[in-house]
């Protein structure tokens, strides 16, 4: 327990250091970081809508980070959360458009939830299957799969899924009946956020309390010993990737039915890569993914707000820089923690020996 608190302390420290370094960078842009951040922060906190945006942005990130964190526990690298998310989105928009006038909202949303998860799981299954069957490198396969799905989506947007006007590469907007209900009035925060949190908790339970989760972790930590324990690592590879893909797929539901209400080109192009960083920030812990995603959601909103501050001309992309620096600081903090703890133990030893 003590070590877990320790990790948290290091993480928070790293995030703060990352923000300080970022602030120094702002100095180079000839703006006063304290002033700018203060203003942006004020705008976020004082406005319910902006505050809600933090959670809106965090929602899909929770899913994509879970998608990476899940396979991470099986010592696999799922770089393809973006593709799995897009596949989920395609299924979500197609099902919504098809069924919105036929079935009631509640049932529709459940169907879309299952469908988008299945879409993502299908992509994940392909990657896991390639790994299990042909010993393909899952890192590369999953990474490239994103491009496949992205192009497949473009094809659909130009053909069967294209809007009735047939003008832009996008689908028709879905009906209000197919929207995920808003849970906080005056904001865009929708039911998807609650679903995301529930799934994160569910993933934690699955990994830590069930036999399947045990098998996945055992394969991840020592596949040879797991194999001799009668666990088939290849089966676990496929299952983990399917579950991970399914998680990323559900982000399709929250983004299509919760936020965008249609599918268009370059849809949320970077939530997959952010997911990886967030999962690493959370050290693969599903619960940690919730908080790390909220942090990144916040940074995201902060960036947009800063960009809109009048007369300062701060590029909104500054926030990507900040996010990168924060992430780097967290990763460095892992190394620092190990060194410090080793030193401490050695010192204790010397005292005990003397």
């Amino acid at each position: 327990m003590k070590s877990r608190a320790n990790i948290l302390l290091y993480n928070i420290g790293a995030v703060i250091i990352g923000l300080i370094i970022s602030a120094i960078l702002l100095l180079f842009m000839k703006v006063n970081p304290l002033d700018v951040c203060g203003q942006a922060l004020g705008k976020i906190v004082s406005d319910k809508y902006n505050l809600g945006e933090v959670l809106v942005k965090a929602t899909p990130l929770i899913f994509t980070s879970l998608a990476f964190a899940f396979t991470y526990n099986a010592n696999l690298f799922n770089i393809g959360a973006q593709g799995q998310f897009l596949m989920g989105s395609i299924v979500a928009v197609a099902l919504s458009l098809k069924l919105q006038s036929i079935v009631p909202t509640f049932i529709l949303l459940i169907i879309v939830l299952i469908g988008s998860a299945a879409g993502g799981a299908f992509m994940g299954g392909l990657i896991g299957g390639a790994k299990a069957k042909f010993k393909a490198n899952e890192f590369l396969v999953s990474m490239m799969s994103t491009y496949v799905v992205s192009n497949f989506m473009d094809y659909l947007l130009r053909t069967s899924l294209q809007e009735t006007k047939a003008e832009y590469m996008q689908t028709d907007a879905i009906d209000k009946a197919a929207y995920l209900p808003t849970i906080l009035p005056g904001t865009r925060v929708h039911l998807g956020f609650v679903i995301a949190v529930l799934f994160a908790i569910g993933v934690w339970v699955l990994l830590n309390k069930t036999t399947l989760g045990f098998q996945i972790r055992a394969v991840g930590k020592n596949s040879d010993a797991a194999n001799l324990g009668g666990i088939k690592p290849t089966t676990i590879y496929v299952i983990s990737f399917m579950i991970a893909g399914g998680l990323a797929g559900i982000a399709g539901l929250t983004e299509i039915n919760g936020v965008q209400h249609m599918l268009l080109r370059d849809f949320n192009a970077s939530i997959g890569s952010y997911g990886i960083g967030i999962a690493i920030l959370a050290n693969g812990n599903p619960i940690g993914c919730i908080f790390a995603s909220i942090l990144f959601g916040f940074l995201n909103v902060m960036g947009t707000t800063m960009g809109r501050l009048p007369g300062l001309n701060i590029p909104a992309s500054i926030i990507e820089l900040i996010e990168g620096i924060v992430m780097a600081c967290v990763i460095i903090s892992y190394a620092v923690r190990r060194i410090v703890e080793n030193k401490k133990k050695k010192k204790q030893m010397r005292k005990a020996g003397a």
Partner: protein
């Protein structure tokens, strides 16, 4: 008195988790053989690795020929005439002896022939018969070791450190090594050799430094001591081996495991197991002796189900399991302690309870609708820790934090409970301290008394002689014969291990 070749004064070394060495002092005179005796983990290798520059020391001083030195790396050590032969050889298997030896000592254009000639001269001087132009991967372990020694001689070493040099050798090869040690030191050179085998110590050592738990317990002259005294110094307490009842004839008991014409080999490669035939009966310990790497591991693999026999049948208690999955075999009552605990038996970053669950996850008794019955698991783990006297706090300890002996006790406890019919032990005591070895031997004896069939594979002849009812010797994937314990002398086993058939010996038929 002359200045000692090596003088180590009060050297200490701390690792994050253990005190590896504390105030270690020892001297090595010129022309002297010093044996560093102690159990595994006593700190013998550590102090020598410090001397060889592989580790830095935290406290103390080291003098080489009277000059205080701070050896930073092996190259530094070698330039002072110190060489060390590691327990695991550092040779490039695809290179010839010559290429291996000149590696790192030559630059630019290399005249291989010239080096070969020089090497042959050195080899001749010590009566070494090793081919210098064959890839070392093709040579026997004993010859590889000679190449390691040549490597040291080539750089004009005067102080040679050898870490457990006889661990991988047949008795005959060991004798040759002992002869070399005598020849080498007769020329005024010094040798430090690290071992836990008393016999060798008494044979060649001039001075014996006994270590225990990172400190030097005593330094004695060979002529002033005997094996009993050394054992006492080394272990600290007397060990009573479990008694073996030789009067029972197990051949009449039911057959538990039956191996018929079993062969195994990877595709397009030489068979690693060739036509093995043997039965193991209830309550019998069947031992397999042999130099490691002669098919023992593959035999374990085909019985445990990790690999499938390419020919022949394996029958457990009347049921053909030749093609059965690992899980199926586990549920049928096979317990297996593999040789590489770190790789195959434990998940080091999981808790002890989770490591126990590794062999129970399929069992409905241990899970409820897919959820692990954690309370039951934890209670069982605590009970197992107590029963096998594992030094651990409780079920939540991470496996990595335990010592090797205690890790092995956990594996052993798990496997003996799982293996209701057959237990396979592949070198169960390798690398463990005497206390743990003793505990493990007693557990194996208990399980035998409970009527389980036991397959015990070991490279330690003393262990084989102490524990087994029948002994088979493996060489090159083949059985060199199956004998009753007591029908073979150490020398005869040594010959069999080296692949020499005993023409006149009467084989005990199955």
């Amino acid at each position: 008195m002359a200045v000692p070749a090596i003088d180590i004064q009060n050297v200490s070394k701390y690792f994050a988790k253990v005190i590896a060495n504390k105030d270690v002092s020892l001297t090595v005179e010129e022309g002297e053989v010093v044996a560093l005796l102690g159990e595994n983990g006593a700190g013998k290798s550590t102090i020598m690795k410090i001397l060889y520059g592989l580790y830095g020391k935290d406290e103390g001083k080291i003098f080489v020929r009277g000059e205080e030195v701070n050896i930073k790396n092996p190259a530094d050590a070698m330039s002072r005439g110190i060489a060390m032969i590691q327990q695991h050889f550092s040779l490039v298997p695809t290179h010839t002896a010559t290429e291996n030896i000149i590696l790192g000592n030559v630059h630019g254009h290399v005249n291989i022939k010239e080096h070969e000639k020089k090497l042959k001269e050195i080899a001749l001087k010590y009566g070494f018969d090793v081919p210098v132009d064959v890839p070392v991967g093709q040579l026997a372990v004993g010859q590889q070791q000679k190449i390691e020694i040549l490597k040291a001689l080539y750089i004009n070493t005067s102080i040679l450190i050898m870490d457990e040099p006889t661990a991988v050798l047949t008795p005959q090869e060991s004798d040759n090594l002992m002869q070399f040690i005598k020849d080498f030191t007769a020329k005024g050179n010094s040798i430090v050799f690290i071992t836990h085998k008393m016999k060798e110590v008494m044979e060649v050592a001039d001075k014996i430094v006994v270590m225990r738990n990172g400190v030097v317990v005593d330094t004695v002259k060979r002529e002033d001591t005997d094996e009993q005294e050394l054992a006492k110094l080394m272990i600290g307490e007397p060990i009573i081996p479990p008694a073996r009842d030789e009067s029972i004839d197990y051949m009449n008991n039911d057959v538990v495991l039956s191996i018929k014409d079993v062969s195994f080999g990877e595709k397009n490669a030489v068979d690693l197991l060739k036509d093995l035939n043997f039965d193991i009966h209830k309550g019998e310990i069947f031992g397999i002796a042999g130099v490691s790497g002669n098919g023992q591991d593959e035999l374990c693999d085909v019985i445990s189900g990790l690999k499938h026999a390419t020919k022949g049948t394996i029958v457990l208690d009347g049921e053909d399991i030749t093609k059965a999955s690992i899980k199926k075999r586990n549920t049928m009552g096979i317990g297996y302690c593999p040789v590489d605990r770190y790789r195959d038996a434990m998940v080091m970053d999981m808790t002890l309870a989770e490591n126990i669950f590794l062999k129970h996850w399929w069992d409905k008794e241990w899970s409820n609708k897919g959820f692990i019955r954690i309370k039951k698991l934890n209670e069982y783990t605590n009970e197992l820790i107590k029963r096998h006297r594992v030094k651990a706090n409780d079920y939540s300890d991470i496996a990595r934090g335990l010592s090797g002996g205690n890790q092995q006790k956990v594996v052993l406890g798990r496997e003996v409970d799982l293996g209701k019919k057959l237990l396979i032990f592949n070198q169960p005591t390798r690398g463990l301290d005497m206390g743990a070895v003793d505990r493990i031997h007693h557990v194996i004896s208990e399980e035998k008394a409970n009527g389980k069939a036991v397959l015990l594979i070991s490279t330690e002849l003393s262990e084989i002689f102490e524990m087994c009812d029948r002994i088979a010797v493996m060489h090159g994937g083949k059985m060199m014969g199956i004998y009753k314990n007591g029908d073979l002398t150490t020398e005869q086993i040594g010959l069999l291990m080296a692949g020499v058939h005993l023409e006149d010996e009467k084989e005990v038929a199955e």
